[in-house]
């Protein structure tokens, strides 16, 4: 797939910035306004998907190859675990051990913003990896139309 027309590419280039900005806002302000790590991560993956559809699948994969995406995915999951285990050192599992701060401030509510950020990295990168895998490994039906012989064997 080579991507779409010039109009789509230009609009995608402009709009993707705002999509990433909105995703960052939803993640970072997840403990103040509606949102959080999961929708922010999915919006991040959707922005990358727009790039993938508009410019062809190679452009985002050049920035973030498959192996590195998998590593980032595991790092997000491990970060969430690490926050939970750090609570164990202060008392019990998932203890909100950081200072709480004032309500309605960006830096408040202890470990919640960190949890949101690690969840968003995990969700966004893993969805990106699945999309990339779906489009990279699409060899079930090659352009000729016939399925390959070793469909069952793998």
């Amino acid at each position: 797939m080579k991507g779409m027309s010039l109009i789509v590419r230009t609009i995608a280039r402009v709009v993707t910035t705002f999509i990433f900005l909105y995703s960052a806002y939803i993640v970072v302000y997840g403990h103040i306004t509606p949102g959080g790590g999961f929708p922010g991560g999915v919006i991040l993956a959707l922005g990358v998907m727009l790039l993938m559809l508009a410019f062809g699948r190679e452009v985002p994969l050049r920035k973030l190859p498959e192996g590195r995406a998998s590593v980032l995915d595991c790092l997000g999951a491990l970060g969430f675990w690490a926050i939970a285990l750090l609570g164990l050192t202060a008392g019990y599992f998932f203890l909100n051990f950081l200072g709480k701060g004032e309500p309605f401030r960006l830096v408040s509510a202890g470990t919640m913003p960190l949890c949101n950020i690690s969840i968003s990295v995990k969700v966004g990168v893993s969805l990106f990896a699945v999309l990339a895998a779906l489009s990279i490994y699409r060899r079930f039906y090659p352009p000729g139309g016939e399925p390959p012989e070793d469909m069952s064997g793998g």
Partner: protein, 172 residues
């Protein structure tokens, strides 16, 4: 309020029936989108913007994947074979389900008056205990963080499995 909810539910049912009955796969995918967007509007009117955001975003992702999957196929029409035994089985189970559901839902509290025994404590103590203004986040990441960890683990394992399966077929 309830009239609005019933109207949106009616739209969702119509969208489902169209998605099942229509012959063009692309149109079926588009009418599945009706269900998602109506559900998101229902969540907004019920006062749950967090879930509405998640619903819209995940629905968009699924629809794009489904669209890619259906557009890439050459033959996008489906042919119906109506089997009378399958239809009869479905109707019988639907009837049994409706009777059981009616008896089960009789004991539920009425609409708009939920039982607030545990969640009342969260609403009362949440702001002083966690200092997070968004109560949904404070429940998800503080009071009930175990559940969120479980969800993250489920997502992690399922995506690992998906990557493994796709990769195994791709490599010769």
């Amino acid at each position: 309020m309830e009239v609005l909810l019933y109207t949106l539910l009616g739209f969702m049912v119509i969208g489902c029936i169209i998605a099942v009955e229509i012959k063009d796969l692309l149109s079926a995918v588009v009418s599945v989108g009706i269900v998602g967007i109506c559900l998101s509007v229902i969540f907004l009117f019920l006062g749950a913007p967090d879930i509405a955001i998640v619903q819209v975003v995940v629905e968009t992702l699924c629809l794009i994947i489904l669209l890619r999957a259906t557009v890439q196929r050459d033959d996008t029409t489906i042919y119906k074979y109506i089997e009378s035994f399958a239809v009869a089985t479905i109707l019988i189970f639907f009837g049994v389900f409706m009777v059981l559901a009616y008896r089960a839902f009789e004991d539920l509290p009425p609409f708009g008056h939920p039982l607030m025994t545990v969640s009342q404590e969260y609403l009362k103590e949440g702001l002083t205990m966690t200092r997070a203004v968004n109560f949904v986040t404070s429940v998800l990441l503080d009071f009930r963080a175990y559940d969120t960890l479980g969800e993250a683990t489920v997502l992690f394992v399922s995506i690992l499995g998906a990557l493994a399966v796709l990769r195994r077929r791709g490599r010769r």
